[in-house]
C-alpha cells in the first residue's frame, strides 16, 4: 500500500521521550521502587533492605537487597534450584518450594549476621500468622517485601516465600490477608489450609484425584515424582525433612566450574586506544620518511 500517510513522522520521534530502560523492558515498577527505597534522611546511610521474590517459569529467586547510587547490592540470595542439595528435587515452583526458598534465605541471612541462635523463628510450620518477637540483646533483621510486577492475589507463591522468611525469623511487616487459606467471607486465615499448602497438601490432593480418575494423565504429569518414588502420602514427611535440612545448614555451597573454553576468533580483535595511537605515529613516521626521500630526489 503505497500512499498511506506516515503515522510516525520525524517530528514524532524528535519529541518522543523514552521511558526508563527498565520500564521499557517491563521489569521495574518505579512507583513501587521509589516508595520501597526511600530512606529517612535523618537515618543517613542506614541501609533499607528489600526482600525481593521473583518467580520464573522454572525457578524462584529470593534475595535481600539494599539500594545504592552505583547499583543495588545483594546481601544474600537463595534460589529454588538449590533445593536439590536439601533433598527436594521436584516441584520447584510450587507454594511449598517457595516456602522452602524463603526459609533458606532467612536462615542464611541470620547465619551471616550471626543472630541465627537468637532468632529461631517458627520451627514447626503451623500455617498460623507468626511475627518475630524482638529479644533484649539485638533487634531482628528487618526487610520489606518487594513483589515486583505480579498481581497480589490470595495464595500467590510469592507469599509462600514470605511465610518461609517469616518463619525463619526475619522481621517483615505483613498481613495474613494474602496467604493461601485466607477466606474473604470470614476475613480470617484458616491455618489448617495454609499448613496444607506449606507441606504440598494441594499437590498431593491433585495427585490422588488424578490417580483415581485419569491414571494416564497422572503418569504423564507427575512422571518425575513417580520416578523418585514420591507418593501423595509421604509428601509432608518429605517437606519436613527439607525444612530440617535447611535449618541445619543454610550456608551457600560454591559449585566448581571449569574455566570457559577458548573459541577460535573469526574476526579481528578491536585495538585499544594506545595501540591505535601507536599505529598512527608509525604511519606518520613512514610517510615523513617517504616524503623526505621524495623531496631529496626532487632536489
Amino acid at each position: 500500500m503505497a500512499f498511506v500517510k506516515a503515522q510516525k513522522t520525524k517530528a514524532y520521534f524528535k519529541r518522543f521521550q523514552v521511558p526508563f530502560k527498565r520500564r521499557r523492558e517491563g521489569k521495574t515498577d518505579y512507583r513501587a521502587r521509589i516508595r520501597l527505597i526511600n530512606q529517612d534522611k535523618n537515618k543517613y546511610n542506614t541501609p533499607k533492605y528489600r526482600f525481593v521474590v521473583r518467580i520464573s517459569n522454572t525457578d524462584i529467586t529470593a534475595q535481600i537487597i539494599s539500594a545504592n547510587i552505583a547499583g543495588d547490592m545483594v546481601l544474600a540470595s537463595a534460589y529454588s534450584h538449590e533445593l536439590p542439595h536439601y533433598g527436594l528435587e521436584v516441584g520447584l515452583t510450587n507454594y511449598a518450594a517457595a516456602y522452602c526458598t524463603g526459609l533458606l534465605l532467612g536462615r542464611r541471612v541470620l547465619k551471616m549476621l550471626e543472630i541465627d541462635d537468637e532468632y529461631q523463628g517458627n520451627v514447626e510450620a503451623t500455617g498460623e500468622d507468626y511475627s518475630v518477637e524482638p529479644t533484649d540483646t539485638r533487634r531482628p533483621f528487618r526487610a520489606l517485601l518487594d513483589v515486583g510486577l505480579i498481581r497480589t492475589t490470595t495464595g500467590n507463591n510469592v507469599f509462600g516465600a514470605l511465610k518461609g522468611a517469616l518463619d525463619a525469623g526475619l522481621d517483615i511487616p505483613h498481613s495474613d490477608k494474602r496467604f493461601a487459606g485466607f477466606s474473604k467471607d470470614s476475613k480470617q486465615l484458616d491455618a489448617e489450609v495454609h499448613r496444607k499448602y506449606i507441606y504440598g497438601g494441594h499437590v498431593a490432593a491433585y495427585m490422588r484425584t488424578l490417580m483415581e480418575d485419569e491414571p494416564e494423565k497422572y503418569q504423564a504429569h507427575f512422571s518425575e515424582y513417580i520416578k523418585r518414588g514420591i507418593e501423595p502420602d509421604n509428601m509432608e514427611a518429605l517437606y519436613k525433612k527439607v525444612h530440617a535440612a535447611i535449618r541445619a545448614d543454610p550456608a551457600a555451597k560454591k559449585s566448581e566450574k571449569e574455566p570457559p573454553k577458548q573459541h577460535k576468533r573469526f574476526n579481528l580483535k578491536k585495538l585499544t586506544y594506545e595501540e591505535r595511537k601507536a599505529k598512527l605515529i608509525e604511519r606518520l613516521h613512514t610517510l615523513n620518511a617517504a616524503a623526505g626521500v621524495d623531496s631529496e630526489e626532487e632536489d
Binding site: 519529541r15 518522543f16 521521550q17 521511558p19 526508563f20 518505579y30 512507583r31 521502587r33 521509589i34 527505597i37 526511600n38 530512606q39 529517612d40 534522611k41 535523618n42 543517613y44 546511610n45 539500594a67 545504592n68 547510587i69
Partner: protein, 164 residues
C-alpha cells in the same frame, strides 16, 4: 483582571520540567545523604508538589542546618532592603542537589594535609598558601630582524600620477 501575586505566580517556565525529562524522577535523588554543614543547590523539581521552596530560592546555594525524615533545612542568604538576612527554609530532597562550590576547597584541604604530613616526616618547613599569578618572567626575544623605517621626501610628480 489585576495581576495575581500568589505563591507560585510567574513560575510557568521556571518550574516546568525540561524537554523530554518529564515523568518519574531518577532515583539517585532519593538515595543521596546530606549532613549538617554541607552546601546544597536549590533547584525546584516541578513534578513533586510537596516541600517546594518559594521561587526566590530557585538557583540559590545554602548550607544544611537540619535534616528531617523527607526534607532538609537549608540556610540561604536573602537581601531584604538594605541588609542580608540568613533565611532558614525546609525543602524536600527532590528540590535539592549537592553543591560543588566547596569541592575544590575540600580537595585542596586534603592535599595540603598530605603535603604537610610529608614535610613533617622529612623535617622541612613548607607553606601551603596559594600565591596569585605574578608577572611573567623576563625573556630574550629570538629571531628578530631589524627593519629601519625612515620618512621619504614628498615627490609631487610620482604621487599625482594616479588620479589627476
Amino acid at each position: 483582571m489585576p495581576a495575581g501575586h500568589g505563591l507560585r505566580c510567574r513560575t510557568r517556565d521556571l518550574f516546568a520540567r525540561p524537554f523530554r525529562k518529564k515523568g518519574y524522577i531518577p532515583l539517585s535523588t532519593y538515595l543521596r545523604t546530606y549532613k549538617i554543614g554541607d552546601y546544597v543547590d536549590i533547584k525546584v523539581n516541578g513534578a513533586v508538589h510537596k516541600g517546594m521552596p518559594h521561587k526566590f530560592y530557585h538557583g540559590r546555594t545554602g548550607r544544611v542546618w537540619n535534616v528531617t525524615k523527607r526534607a532538609i533545612g537549608v540556610e540561604v542568604n536573602k537581601q531584604v532592603g538594605n541588609r542580608i538576612i540568613r533565611k532558614r527554609i525546609h525543602v524536600r530532597v527532590e528540590h535539592v542537589q549537592p553543591s560543588r562550590c566547596a569541592e575544590e576547597f575540600k580537595l585542596r584541604k586534603l592535599k595540603n594535609d598530605q603535603l604537610k604530613a610529608e614535610a613533617k616526616a622529612k623535617g622541612e618547613v613548607i607553606s601551603t598558601k596559594r600565591q596569585p599569578e605574578g608577572p611573567k618572567p623576563g625573556f630574550m626575544v629570538e629571531g628578530a630582524t631589524l627593519e629601519t623605517v625612515t620618512p621619504i621626501p614628498y615627490d609631487v610628480v610620482n604621487d599625482l600620477k594616479g588620479g589627476y
